[in-house]
């Protein structure tokens, strides 16, 4: 920045820094796919395996995208990392799984009950998670809105632990199976040798309409306008007659609802749920939100898809036990190279 005022133009070191700032993150992101593409081409002569990683990655990434939007919305409006958001996602999974079991749906159920059962589970998970998120904001964040930033961050961590233990008591410490209503791993059709499974279709069918509704709500509706105004400047928004408290609650509601939907997809996709999925899932989704540029809706979706792809490649080729370390490694790299993310931050103090 200072260098720009020097007439002779920025020195070489500055230019290198700028280059790293602009393309560094993209280059880091390309390492894994390019490496594995070369490996596939030399070993097998085609890119089918990478393509399968990509498809599974994208449908997995849709889950992270939905959760990441919750992080990004909340961060945009109250500048707080909602640590408990991952647990909201977990509770969403639990609600939908419980409803499916209560309704008595099994693998052998006919298509129509399965469809309506899933729809009911989706709605209930969204309502439950959304309400929970609003309650959390009421209890843990609102009293601390004018305290130093450290305070709500710590209550967020506390809240996350409480919810984790709620999940532990609810479904026990081990992974729980969910009836595989959709035969998630069944191949629906193949494109260029890449198999598309039922679960992939489910995640696309649920995610895309939700995203469209969400973005048009935020961009078109009156309440969405209020949300954007509050994110830009809460004081000014309040002076313009916007009820800031309600708007913040609404933001938490929307974020929670998306996390609930993600919870259902996760339960159907993985067909197992457990209380700890929220912790890792939350961190992965947060990485996605930061990768896209926190506060940026499209960024969160993009980041989610990319992280899903990375995760899938790592699961498939390096080993599932390394996946968290790799995703967190990416998080650190983003922080080093470009804290503002791929598409840029849209927050008050992004500067």
């Amino acid at each position: 920045m200072e260098a720009a005022s020097i007439p002779a133009g920025p020195p070489a070191s500055q230019r290198v820094k700028q280059l790293i700032g602009t393309y560094g993150l993209t280059a880091v992101l390309l390492i894994m796919p390019v490496w594995f593409a070369i490996q596939d081409l030399t070993d097998e002569g085609n890119l089918v395996r990478l393509g399968e990683n990509l498809v599974a990655g994208l449908s997995n990434g849709a889950i992270w995208a939905l959760v990441a939007i919750g992080y990004t919305l909340v961060y945009g409006i109250v500048e707080l990392i909602n640590f408990a958001h991952g647990e909201i996602f977990m509770i969403g999974s639990f609600i939908s799984a419980s409803l499916i079991v209560t309704l008595g749906l099994t693998v052998d159920s006919a298509a129509v009950p399965v469809f309506f059962g899933l729809l009911a589970a989706l709605l209930l998970a969204m309502i439950g998670s959304g309400t929970l998120n609003v309650l959390i904001e009421r209890v843990a964040y609102r009293p601390l809105r004018s305290a130093p930033k450290l305070a709500p961050l710590i209550t967020a961590v506390g809240m996350s632990f409480i919810l984790q233990n709620v999940g532990l008591l609810w479904k026990g410490g081990n992974q729980q199976g969910v009836p595989d209503l959709l035969n998630a791993q069944n191949t629906l059709f193949t494109v260029f040798g890449v198999t598309i499974e039922n679960a992939d279709v489910l995640s696309v069918v649920v995610t895309i309409p939700l995203l469209i509704v969400m973005t048009s709500f935020i961009n078109r509706s009156r309440l969405g306008k209020a949300m954007r105004a509050t994110a830009q400047d809460p004081e000014a928004a309040r002076l313009m007659g916007i009820n800031v408290d309600t708007t913040i609650s609404l933001t938490f509601l929307l974020g929670g609802m998306l996390a609930g939907a993600a919870g259902l997809i996760y339960a159907m996709y993985q067909t197992t749920i457990w209380f700890f999925q929220g912790f890792t899932g939350g961190l992965i989704a947060f990485t996605a939100a930061v990768m896209g540029g926190i506060g940026n809706l499209r960024g969160a979706v993009l980041g989610g898809l990319i992280i899903g792809f990375i995760q899938q490649m790592s699961d498939n080729r390096i080993g599932t036990e390394w996946t968290p370390a790799i995703v967190f490694g990416y998080l650190v790299l983003i922080m080093v190279f470009k804290p503002s993310g791929l598409l840029g931050e849209q927050t008050r103090d992004a500067g």
């Binding site: 843990a140 009293p143 930033k149 632990f161 968290p324 998080l331």
Partner: protein
């Protein structure tokens, strides 16, 4: 009898809240009394001969050291570190690597020995004297702390929390997963979830080697560590560096404008805080006689953070009390006293299962009701309560 022990340790510092003591009494008298009680306690046979109780007391003191270290990072410098467990891990691995039979194949299975006595001389593996291991642990963790601190320097407060958390998780993952990667003639780097065990017991010069049965020397060594760390902590707080930490915490822009070097100051905070974590980690590894990857989980970071928050961010005595209270809660109250409470009222779970919900609840409660902690530091209390009072209402009334 363990009730008596724990209460005796707690009461004296808490008297301070009730009435004001003259400065010299507050500074010297109360710490001296507490120290005296701590020294005398193990001499009472019913306490000193109870190995399980002494072990728990020693662990509590190790937690005090750990919490004092985190207090430097979070309390003094205001950098929320959620990956403190990484330093515990490095400290513990200093023992696992340099004071155990883990690397059995080094030096043609003869082992490397440095200033160790007794039977240890004949054992394979790397065996250094515990004091040397402590130095290694401190160096290792200081470097690790600075490396972890580096990428967070440019970041805003809440990003720091996430990046340190990510680092902590990465270190934990490495500890679990590196049991397949072999070095030094065929030994895996870590022993994963099985743990490196046994490790050397502490063997100090001029003293008999510590034994498993008699926990008194362990307790006294931990007490020595606490006193040492307390002394360093007080000196650091009142030093130029300590004032720079507080200045950065309160207003980074103003501090930098006044000539406080932000990078160096923050790195020093990470380094110093990490060093104490390493010290305590090495001691704990030797005391617990294992270096196990399952110890290095996120929840441990939260446990230590809860100690700091409970006692009061930035308050040295407060953190000591917080660490002791939570140790009692963690190691005795929850597993032994109220564990059966839910099943007695007809609920199907044990209290130990929801230990971390209790800590989470504690964090929540403290932050909302008493953010300055049990025994607040004066300056921090001002900071935390002043901010809380400047709500919109007060702003509006001030304007009109």
């Amino acid at each position: 009898m363990s009730v008596a022990a724990s209460e005796a340790q707690q009461t004296p510092p808490e008297q301070k809240k009730g009435f004001e003591l003259p400065g010299w009494a507050e500074k010297i008298l109360i710490p001296a009394i507490v120290l005296l009680i701590a020294i005398v306690l193990p001499l009472i046979p019913s306490i000193g001969e109870n190995a399980a109780l002494m072990q728990q007391m020693a662990v509590a003191l190790a937690y005090v050291v750990m919490a004092l270290g985190l207090n430097i990072i979070v309390g003094f410098a205001g950098l929320l570190d959620l990956g403190y467990v990484a330093f515990f891990a490095f400290g513990a691995f200093a023992v696992g690597w340099f004071a155990s039979g883990h690397f059995a194949y080094v030096n043609n299975e003869q082992g490397i020995h440095l200033l160790v006595g007794g039977n240890t001389v004949n054992l394979p593996g790397i065996h250094f004297n515990f004091l040397i291991v402590l130095v290694i642990a401190v160096i290792l963790t200081t470097i690790a702390g600075m490396i972890i601190g580096l990428p967070t320097l440019r970041l805003r407060g809440d990003y720091i929390a996430i990046v340190t958390l990510a680092f902590g998780e990465i270190i934990g993952r490495l500890a679990v997963n590196l049991d397949g990667t072999t070095i030094l003639g065929g030994t895996p780097v870590t022993a994963g979830r099985q743990g490196i065990s046994p490790v050397d017991r502490i063997d100090l010069p001029f003293l008999d080697p510590f034994t498993v049965l008699d926990k008194k020397p362990w307790f006294y060594f931990a007490l020595f560590l606490v006193v040492l760390v307390l002394f360093v902590n007080f000196r650091l707080r009142d030093s130029r560096m300590g004032r720079a930490w507080v200045a950065l915490r309160e207003d980074e822009i103003a501090a930098v404008a006044m000539g406080v070097p932000a990078v160096k100051t923050k790195l020093m905070a990470y380094g110093a805080g990490a060093a104490f974590g390493g010290l305590s980690g090495a001691y704990l590894a030797s005391l617990l006689n294992t270096v196990n990857a399952d110890q290095f989980q996120f929840s441990f970071s939260i446990l230590v953070l809860a100690m700091v928050i409970l006692g009061g961010l930035g308050s040295i005595w407060g953190v000591v009390i917080g660490a002791i209270v939570l140790s009692i809660l963690n190691n005795w109250l929850i597993p032994d006293v109220i564990n059966d409470l839910p099943s007695n009222v007809g609920l199907e779970f044990d209290m130990t299962q929801i230990t971390f919900a209790i800590y989470g609840f504690l964090l929540l409660l403290m932050m909302i009701l008493r953010p300055q902690g049990l025994l607040p530091e004066r300056r921090h209390q001002m900071e935390l309560t002043e901010h809380a009072e400047t709500t919109d209402e007060t702003l509006y009334t001030a304007r009109s």
